[in-house]
C-alpha cells in the first residue's frame, strides 16, 4: 500500500462520500426512498457520456452536471409514469432505470472505441475508481459534504416530521413539498458526488446499507443518523484501503462489501432487534411455557389425589419423553420452583404461586371465551392453553372483573380446567 499524498487524498475523498451517503441514507431509508437513489444513479450514466461527447472535457464538474440532469430527468419520468398511467411505481422504476442504463452503456462503448475516448476513463463511472480522485475533485466533495451536513443539521426536525407524519408537518404550517424537495435534492447531490468513487451501479448501496445496519442498534433517530454516517465513513475508508491491496480492484464493490459485512453482523448480533436476540427471546418464552406446563401438570396430578409424584408420572401426564421432563425439572429446581427428593417431586412456595397463577389465567380465559360465545366449550382449550402464558396480571384483573360482573367466580381450581398441554419444541 502506498501511503503518500495521493493515497491520503483518495482516502479522504472516500471517507467524505461514505459519511455523506451514510448520513443522508438514514433519512432515505426511513422515508422508503432508497430505490429512488438507485434509479437516480443508473439514470445518470447517459448524462455522463453525453456531457463528455458534447464538451470533449472530462472535468468532473461538467460530467457530474450531465449526470445530475439525466438522473433527475429519469426520476421525473418515473413520477410522470406513475401519475399518468396505470403502471405502478416498481415497474416504472424498473423501466426507466434499465432504459437509461442501457442507453448509457451504448454511449459509453461508443466513446471507448473512438480515438479520444480511449483515455477518457469514463468506465470508472460504472464500478467506481477512487484512485482517480484528484485534488480538484476533493474540493467538490468537500463542498457537497459540507452542504449536506449543514442542511441535515438545520432541517433535522423538519426531516424527522416529514418522514414520521407528513400531514402533521403540513398542519404545523410547514410545506412538506419544500422539505421533501430539499431532502430529494440532497440525495441527488450525494449520489452524484459519489459516482466517481463508487460507480452508478453500487452507489445506492452506500445510501441504503449503512443506514439499514444502524437501524438495528438504536431506537433514536439522531443516534441512527450519526451511527449511519460514521459507519458510511468507515466503509469508504476501509473500501479504499482494501482495494489498494491488490491492483485493479474497483473501489465501489469493496466499499459495498464492507458495508454489507457490517449490515450482516448488525442483523445478527444487535441487541433486541437482531436475529440472535429475537431467537433468544423466543427460546426463553418456550422454556417458560414448558416450565408452566410442568407446574400445571403437577397440580393436576395432585388434584387427582396422587401423593408421591415422580418424574415418570409427570412425563405421562405431559405426554413427553422422560429425558425431557428430567431436563425441565432440573431447570425448575435451579429456578427455585421445584424440589426433588428420592425421585419424588414437590413444588416450592414460589412454584405453587406460579402454578396457581397459570391455572387461574387458563381458567379465566376459558370462561371468558365461552361466556362471550367466542368459542364452543370443546374448542376452547387449545386457545386457552396458548394464551395462559401471555396474559399479564393487569389483563387477569380485567378478566376477573368482567366475569365477576356476570356473577362468575373463578377460584383457580385445577378440576375445572380442561387438561391438555400445547407442545413446544424447546425444554432446555
Amino acid at each position: 500500500m502506498i501511503w503518500d499524498a495521493t493515497f491520503q487524498l483518495v482516502l479522504l475523498g472516500s471517507l467524505l462520500i461514505g459519511a455523506t451517503s451514510g448520513t443522508l441514507g438514514a433519512f432515505a431509508v426511513l422515508r422508503r426512498r432508497s430505490l429512488l437513489g438507485d434509479a437516480l444513479a443508473h439514470a445518470a450514466l447517459p448524462g455522463v457520456a453525453l456531457a463528455f461527447l458534447w464538451t470533449q472535457s472530462k472535468a468532473l464538474p461538467i460530467l457530474l452536471l450531465g449526470a445530475t440532469i439525466s438522473g433527475v430527468v429519469g426520476v421525473l419520468i418515473i413520477e410522470a409514469i406513475v401519475n399518468y398511467t396505470r403502471i405502478k411505481a416498481d415497474a416504472a422504476l424498473g423501466i426507466v432505470l434499465s432504459v437509461f442504463f442501457g442507453g448509457g452503456i451504448v454511449l459509453l462503448t461508443h466513446i471507448q472505441q473512438s480515438e479520444v475516448g480511449n483515455q477518457s476513463g469514463l468506465d470508472k463511472f460504472l464500478f467506481g475508481q477512487a484512485a482517480s480522485i484528484v485534488r480538484a475533485d476533493l474540493y467538490v466533495m468537500c463542498v457537497v459534504s459540507a452542504l449536506v451536513m449543514v442542511a441535515v443539521f438545520l432541517c433535522y426536525k423538519e426531516f424527522k416530521v416529514l418522514i414520521f407524519d407528513a400531514e402533521f408537518l403540513a398542519a404545523q404550517g410547514f410545506s412538506p413539498r419544500v422539505v421533501d424537495l430539499l431532502l430529494m435534492g440532497l440525495i441527488v447531490l450525494t449520489v452524484m458526488v459519489g459516482l466517481q468513487a463508487v460507480g452508478v451501479i453500487l452507489i445506492a448501496a452506500m445510501l441504503i446499507t449503512p443506514a439499514a445496519a444502524a437501524r438495528f442498534w438504536t431506537d433514536r433517530l439522531h443516534v441512527m443518523v450519526l451511527a449511519s454516517g460514521i459507519l458510511g465513513a468507515l466503509c469508504g475508508a476501509l473500501g479504499v484501503g482494501l482495494s489498494a491491496l491488490a491492483p485493479r480492484i474497483p473501489t465501489g464493490p469493496v466499499m459495498v462489501l464492507v458495508a454489507t459485512a457490517a449490515f450482516l453482523v448488525s442483523a445478527l448480533i444487535a441487541p433486541r432487534r437482531g436475529v440472535l436476540a429475537r431467537w433468544a427471546r423466543i427460546r426463553a418464552n418456550a422454556l417458560r411455557e414448558n416450565g408452566q406446563h410442568f407446574l400445571r401438570a403437577y397440580l393436576a396430578l395432585q388434584a387427582r389425589g396422587k401423593r408421591e409424584i415422580a418424574l415418570l408420572d409427570l412425563a405421562s401426564e405431559l405426554q413427553l419423553p422422560l429425558y425431557r421432563v428430567r431436563r425441565l425439572a432440573t431447570r425448575l429446581v435451579r429456578d427455585g420452583r421445584v424440589s426433588l427428593q428420592n425421585g419424588a417431586c414437590s413444588l416450592t412456595e414460589l412454584g405453587h404461586k406460579e402454578a396457581d397463577f397459570v391455572v387461574k389465567s387458563h381458567q379465566l380465559w376459558e370462561y371468558y371465551l365461552v361466556y362471550r360465545s367466542i368459542l364452543e366449550e370443546d374448542h376452547v382449550d387449545r386457545s386457552a392453553d396458548e394464551v395462559e402464558h401471555i396474559l399479564t396480571p393487569e389483563i387477569i384483573e380485567q378478566l376477573e372483573s368482567i366475569l365477576a360482573q356476570e356473577g362468575i367466580d373463578v377460584v383457580g381450581d385445577i378440576h375445572k380446567t380442561h387438561s391438555g398441554y400445547r407442545r413446544t419444541g424447546e425444554d432446555g
Binding site: 432541517c155 416530521v161 414520521f164 400531514e167 408537518l169 398542519a171 404550517g173 410547514f174 431506537d219 433517530l221
Partner: protein
Amino acid sequence: MLHAVDESVTPIHIHDMTVAYHKKPVLWDVDLAVPEGKLVGVVGPNGAGKSTMIKAIMDLVPKASGWVHIYGKPYSRMRQVIGYVPQRESVDWDFPINALDVVLMGRYGHIGWVRRPDKIDRELAEEALEKVGMTDFGHRQINQLSGGQQQRVFLARALAQDAQIYLMDEPFAGVDAATERAIIDILMDLRARKKTMLVVHHDLHTVNQYFDWLVLINMRIVAAGETKDVFTDDNLNKTYGGRLTVLSEAAQAVAHHQRGL
C-alpha cells in the same frame, strides 16, 4: 343553510365545499358552521368522507370548490389555532423516536423553520404527556406502547400545541376502556375551557353521552346541529340506510371522465 353567520365567533365555517380524490368526488357541497366551545361528533359510515372533511379544513387535500374560514379568516393564516390528531394507523409506529419526541412535534409550528425546541417547549411537552397520564412513558420507544398509549401520545401532541380548535380523526378507535375514559375526560376539560372540537367517531352507542353537537355525514351533510335534535332514527336511516348509489356512481363517472380512462 345560508343564514347569516357571524364569522368572527365561528371557529369553522365551511361554504359549498366539494372535495375529490384523484378526480373522484368524495364530499359534495358541504355547508357547515360549527359553533364555538362545542364538542362536535362527526358520524357516518365508512367512506362517507369524515376524514376527508377534516383534512380539507386543513388544506391537506385540495378542494374542488368552496372555501373554509377559521374565525373568519382563511386557514393559511390561522394554522396555529388548529390542533390535529390524525388516525393512529396513518403513521409508522416503528419509526425510531420516543413518545416525548412525538409530543414535541406539537410545538414545531410555534418554533418555526430551522430553530430547535427549547426548554419551555420541552416543559410544555412534558405537561401534555402528564395530562394524558403518560409521564412515565416519555422515554419509551413508540413501538413499545400499546394502541391506547399511542393514541394518548397523539392527543398529547395536539395538546402541546395549545390550540383553540381541535380536529380529531377517530381518537377512540381501537383503544382500551381506560384510555377512552381518559380521552373523554380531556375533551370535556377542553370544552370547559371554550375550545372547539370536531371528532370523527364510530361508536353510535356513545354519541349521546359524548357529544353536544353532531354532524351526520355520508358524502354530503345529512344533518348538523344539537345532538338531541339531530340524533334521530330518521336521520340515522338517511345516513346509514343504503349506499348512496346515485351519488357514488356519479362520482365514479366524473373520475373516469376526467382521467380519460
